[in-house]
Symmetry: C2
Subunit: 366 residues, 2 copies
Amino acid sequence: MNITTPTLLLDKEKALRNISRMVDKTKRSGVRLRPHFKTHQSVQVGEWFREQGVEAITVSSVHMARYFADHGWNDILVAFPANVLEMESINELASRIKLHLIAVNQETVVALAKGLQHPVQLSLKIDAGYHRTGIPASNYAEIDAMLALIQGQDKLQFAGFVVHNGHTYKQTYAAAIRNIHNTSVDQLQLLRERYKAQFPNLQLSVGDTPSCSILESFEGVDEIRPGNFVFYDITQQHIGSCAFEEIAVCMVCPVIAKHPDRGELILYGGSVHFSKDVLVQKDGNAVFGRVVELTDKGWSEPLEGFEVVSLSQEHGVVRVSAEQFDKYNIGDLMGVLPVHSCLTADAMRGYLTTEGEPIDHLSGVR
Amino acid sequence: MNITTPTLLLDKEKALRNISRMVDKTKRSGVRLRPHFKTHQSVQVGEWFREQGVEAITVSSVHMARYFADHGWNDILVAFPANVLEMESINELASRIKLHLIAVNQETVVALAKGLQHPVQLSLKIDAGYHRTGIPASNYAEIDAMLALIQGQDKLQFAGFVVHNGHTYKQTYAAAIRNIHNTSVDQLQLLRERYKAQFPNLQLSVGDTPSCSILESFEGVDEIRPGNFVFYDITQQHIGSCAFEEIAVCMVCPVIAKHPDRGELILYGGSVHFSKDVLVQKDGNAVFGRVVELTDKGWSEPLEGFEVVSLSQEHGVVRVSAEQFDKYNIGDLMGVLPVHSCLTADAMRGYLTTEGEPIDHLSGVR
C-alpha cells in the first residue's frame, strides 16, 4: 500500500466479526437487528450486513436514507426527529421504500399529516433518561395527545416507541450500563401495557452500542439499533464495550516533524481528519487517539509511551517517552486508533481496507 | 432561498470588507499579504482576494496547493512541515508554480534535496513560543546545520523564516497579543541579523489572525499570512479580533424538536456540520455557537437567552430562556454563528451566499 496522506484503514475481517457477533446475539435473543448505518455510511459495508441477513436499517438523515435506498435498502428508519422542511424528499422516499420516521412533538405530527402523500411508519421518540431529545417516558398526557393526532391520519401508521440511551456513553461499568438499559426497558414496558390494547403490534426499539455490546439478551424489546459496534473505537474500549483488538478502523498518518527538545512528534493528521472528539482517560488525561504499530496485515495493540495530546486543523501532536522517541522518523507512517469512529469516518470520506481496497463513504460521494 | 437542511450562509459583502481592511493595512505597512486559504478553501472566495490585488497565498496541504494552482495561483506557500511522502505531487507542482515549502528538521531537508526535480523555495519554521512545531528561535546550532544542508542544494532556495503564533488564540487582551507578536518579531530580527550577510534577501513571515487583526502596522517583518479573518467567528470575537458584525459566515439549521419541560430546542445541525470545537466563554460556560436571528439580507447580532450547549453527530441542543422559548417553532430556521469557521467550512463542504449563490469548498469537490 502506498499511503502518503492521512488515510482511514479498515480491517474488514474485524468488521465482519463485529457484525456477526451482533447478528448472532440478536438471533439468540429473538429481536430484530436494525443497525445504525450513520457510523460507516458506506454501501460496501452495508453489503457486509446484508450478507449476514440484515434487512432493516437505521440512518440519521433523509439524505442518508436516500443513499441507502438507492442501493437496494427498502426498510429504513430515520432515527432523528422528522425534519418537516424536507417533505419533498420524504415523499419521494415514502413512494418507494418502507420509510419509518420519528416524532417528538405534536407540531411535527400535524405537519407530516398535512404534507405526506404516501404512508410512513411513525414512532414516538421516548426520553428514558438521556435528556437529549424525546418525550419523557412518564408524560402520558403528551403521548396520548400525539397518538390521538396520529390515529386520525391515513398516511401515518403508528409503529411504536424508540429510545436512545446515549447516557451509557458516560459509564465505564457494565453494571451501570445494564441498569440504564433495564430502566429504559421497564419504562417501555409500561408504555406497551398502556397502549397494547389500542396498538397490539407496537414495537419497542432501543439501541446504543454500549448496552448492545455488554448485554447478552434483550428481553422486553423488539428491536435494537446499535451502529458504532461495526468499527468500535477507543471511546467504546474505555466504556468497556469492546477490546482494543475489536477496533476495526485505524488512521494512518505521516510523521512530518520531530521535536527532540520536548519529546513530540508532529503528524499530518488533524481535526479535519479525526474530527475533534476527545477522550478523557481514567488518569484524567485527555487524548485524541491511541498510537498503534502498523503491521503487514493491520495494526498492533496500543503502544505505551505515546499520547496524542492535541489536534489543530491539519496537525496532530504526539507526546513520546524518551525510550520510544527514536522509533519513528520523518516520513514514517503512524497508526492512530480514533476516539470516535463515526466522526472520523465522516471527516475522512472514505476507507482503504487492509487488503488495499478503497471503500466509499457517503460524505465522499456527494 | 429554500433552505431545508443545515447550510453555511456566507455574507459576501462582509467577507469583501474583511479582505479589503487587511489589504489596506498591509499596503500601509508595506508588507506582503499572503493570506491563508485553508479557512475558505474556495476558488470563488480566492477570486475576491485576487480582485483586491493579492497574488501570493498560503495553504496547509499539497492537495490544497494543487487545487489553487489548478485555478491560476502560481505563488503558493504550503505552511506545514513538508510531507516528504508526497514528493511526486510536490515535484509536479514545483514544475509549474513558484512553490514554497517549510522544514523543521534536517531529515526533511535531506529528503527534499534527494527527491526534488525542480527548484522550490524553502523556509525554516521557527517556534517563537507557541510550541506546536518549529525550531526554537534560539537554537542557532540547529538552524546553522539546516542552512548548511540547504546551501549545498541547487533545488532548495532558502527563502527565510516563518512563524505561526497560535498562542494568541488563548488571549483576550490586545496588549497580550501585541506582546506575543512583538516578542516573535524581536526573535526574528535576531535571526535576520545573524544570517543577513549570507542571505541578504531572507524574508520574515508571521501571521495569526488575532495579531494581524489587532495590530495596525507590521514593522520588522516582510509578510503576514492570516487566514481566518476573511470569515472570522465567535472565537475571534471572544479574543477581540473582530466585532460580531464582521463575522461573515452563519450556519442555518432547521428546528426539529422542542422540549418545553426543560427549555431546549433541538436543531438539525451537529458535529458533522459544525465540527466539534468549543468556546469557553468568560462566564465559564462552554458554547458550540451563538444564536442569531435570520433576516432578509443576512443575520442579526447574537440573541440573548439562547445557548448552544451541546452537539452530537447530527443534533444540536439549544437552551432557551422562558421568555424566548416560543420565538421558534418546529420547521423554523435558526441562525448560529460558528465557534471555528475554518472547521465548519471544511465540514460543510460548500457555502450559499446571502444572495443565493452556491460557492465551492475544496472538500466538496474531491
